[in-house]
């Protein structure tokens, strides 16, 4: 799935949950670890990555988005 949360770094502040306009983290309980409910909605805008004060979020690029190159 696109956003991947490092559970050791995550402080459960929900900033990633609140910034995501596509609501990829829909249904995350208040004060809980972010739940990646709708990974297919991710647009790779990086907003949740930028928002996280702990550097706990990264985006994984799916295989069918790999760059075709020489």
């Amino acid at each position: 799935m696109p956003p991947v949360i490092d559970k050791d770094k995550c402080k459960k502040c929900s900033k990633c949950v609140d910034i995501c306009t596509e609501d990829v983290y829909f249904g995350t309980p208040k004060g809980g670890f972010p739940v990646i409910t709708y990974p297919e909605a991710c647009w790779y805008c990086n907003c949740c990555v930028n928002e996280c004060p702990e550097g706990a979020v990264r985006l994984r690029i799916p295989l069918n988005m790999q760059l075709a190159r020489k």
């Binding site: 609140d18 910034i19 995501c20 306009t21 596509e22 609501d23 829909f26 249904g27 409910t37 709708y38 297919e40 909605a41 991710c42 647009w43 790779y44 805008c45 990086n46 907003c47 990555v49 930028n50 928002e51 990264r58 985006l59 690029i61 799916p62 069918n64 988005m65 790999q66 760059l67 075709a68 190159r69 020489k70």
Partner: protein, 546 residues
């Protein structure tokens, strides 16, 4: 379902660049303003991750002759504009650029006005390179500073009309079971592009597309339903950029478009050039198809000859253009654009046409304004006409009486009952199923290559699909309910694409008619309008205003 009522002088639907600029200006003009945003206005819309080019005219950089710039702004990717609209854009854009700079969005590069991209050698360049990574947070802050009230997590579904005047809108909470009623003297639509009408170029990934998947033409279709005119929905357009990474583009790349053997495919440049990128991409719509047919594909963007300074320049602007995830991916994979040519391809079909607006950002409906990608044009268009919409909406609403009767409750109850019917259903089609059915139909019957018989068959098919969808959609939660309502909007927009495409009996730009191969010069200055008249779809050809 809870119901809440919100009152404002000006309601901005959508908190993207256009919506926030409109809100800022309307608030400055003395209006009480609400921005209703489907997601979070800090990170919504096409401009959320940043941008690096702003189409404008700056007299001290360009010289006193505004005419060539008005000329350039009069047409865009197969669409044409009224002369006055282009004139006002050119005249206002310089002020907006300076305003953004003063708010903390750096509009100069190394202290100078820097123009590059979307042009060719000898052309008047009008795309200002700027550092727009922070543009959304800056505009958000400026809106709050002026007392704008931002309501996040609400999908506006319908406009409210009082006689011939728009009097507000209703919307659905996207995270909780709420119906929100917004009563306003004027409404400004800024909901952005239509996505998810045509399939993603990447198999199985619904959101790996040129713009975010929550932009579903909500503004266009609610305007149409309320009686406003739409324009240009018949013309398909495909953007291009790194293949399989569809949230990208071309203009920031400093390289040469080449075939597999390394031969440049365009006549413009042979070495990477930061001023022009490679203009062949925009000047040759059939490039990818032709190269594939010639057996010399794939098509590569080759930056291997780039100078160290131009490489630094390109990466700097990619960061500001919103390529952060892409750049990180390249770093992690060890992909170095100085060593490796990257394949380029076209993305999904996009409909750039939308809500007709004049130079005051007025739609054809009283009290209704629209800006930004409601009618193609990118960030500069959104900024300039958002600003103009805000000013005019505040002014025209000032004389109106805000005390109106609650005459909308029966309509609201009807909408609630429909939403309830989706929620109550256990078995049926979820939003994905309906959306994929719509996408395959648009792709098979209304892609770039069209004919009357195929379009007619597709339209019949679409109407059957829509009828079924209305009575079979299911939603397991609020998120899926919102996607379902978006898909219903897309079905109505798809119908308008078919109806208008049938009326364009010629080949032009990306619109290839097998049964009408000639480009009809009599239509060079004409656009196709579409309107809802008492439940009937009515089309009309009209010349642009010179």
């Amino acid at each position: 379902m809870n119901q809440t009522v919100h009152e404002a002088d000006v309601l901005c639907v959508g908190g993207g660049i256009a919506g926030l600029m409109a809100a800022i200006r309307a608030a400055e003009s003395g209006a009480r303003v609400i921005v209703a945003e489907k997601g979070n206005a800090l990170a919504s819309g096409a401009g959320r991750a940043g941008n690096d080019h702003f189409q404008c005219y700056i007299p001290e950089a360009h010289g006193p002759d505004i005419k060539p710039f008005v000329q350039k702004l009069s047409s865009f990717r197969g669409q044409i504009r009224d002369r006055k609209v282009a004139q006002v854009w050119a005249e206002t854009s310089g002020e907006i650029v300076k305003l953004w700079d003063s708010w903390g969005i750096p509009m100069k590069y190394k202290g100078e006005w820097e123009f590059a991209g979307h042009g060719f050698p000898g052309d008047k360049l009008d795309h200002l390179k700027y550092s727009g990574k922070n543009q959304k947070s800056v505009l958000h802050r400026e809106a709050l500073k002026r007392g704008v009230s931002i309501v996040n997590w609400v999908m506006i579904t319908d406009l409210l009309r009082e006689g011939d005047h728009v009097a507000g809108a209703i919307g659905l909470g996207t995270r909780d079971d709420t119906m929100m009623v917004f009563r306003a003297k004027t409404v400004i639509l800024g909901t952005g592009f239509i996505t998810r009408l045509y399939p993603s170029p990447i198999n199985g990934r619904v959101a790996n597309i040129n713009f975010p998947m929550t932009l579903t033409g909500d503004g266009r279709i609610m305007a149409f339903r309320a009686g406003a005119e739409l324009v240009g929905l018949d013309m398909p357009y495909k953007h291009q950029g790194p293949k399989y990474f569809a949230r990208s583009g071309q203009a920031t790349w400093v390289g040469v478009i080449k075939d597999a053997e390394g031969n440049p495919l365009g006549p413009f440049i042979t070495k990477p050039n930061r001023r022009y990128g490679d203009p062949v991409l925009e000047r040759y719509p059939a490039l990818f198809e032709d190269v594939a047919a010639s057996g010399k594909g794939p098509v590569y963007m080759d930056c291997t000859d780039i100078s160290p300074e131009d490489y630094e320049y390109m990466i700097y602007f990619m960061e500001h253009e919103g390529y952060a995830s892409f750049l990180k991916y390249m770093r992690e994979e060890g992909i170095d654009l100085r060593k490796t040519p990257v394949e380029f391809g076209r993305y999904e079909i996009r409909i750039n046409g939308g809500i007709y607006t004049n130079e005051k950002a007025e739609t054809s409906l009283k009290g209704l304004y629209a800006a930004g990608d409601e009618l193609f044009g990118g960030i500069a268009n959104a900024a300039v006409f958002g600003w103009i919409a805000g000013e005019n909406a505040a002014k025209s609403g000032a004389g109106r009486n805000a005390d109106r009767a609650d005459g909308f409750q029966s309509f609201i109850e009807e909408r609630k009952a429909f939403i309830q019917s989706i929620k109550a259903r256990d078995v049926g089609s979820d939003w994905r199923e309906v959306n994929f059915a719509l996408q395959q139909l648009m792709q098979d019957y209304a892609a770039s290559v069209r004919s009357e018989s195929v379009l007619t068959a597709g339209l019949t098919h679409l109407r059957r699909l829509r009828e079924k969808a209305r009575y079979s959609l299911i939603a397991r939660n609020r998120w899926e309910l919102v996607r379902s309502l978006e898909v219903l909007n897309l079905l109505d927009l798809g119908e308008l694409v078919f109806v208008t495409a049938l009326e364009r009996k010629e080949t032009r730009g990306g619109n290839i008619r097998r049964d009408y191969p000639v480009t009809n010069p009599m239509l060079d200055k004409s656009r196709l309008f579409v309107k809802n008249v008492d439940g009937k779809i009515v089309t009309e050809w009209r010349e642009v205003k010179e």
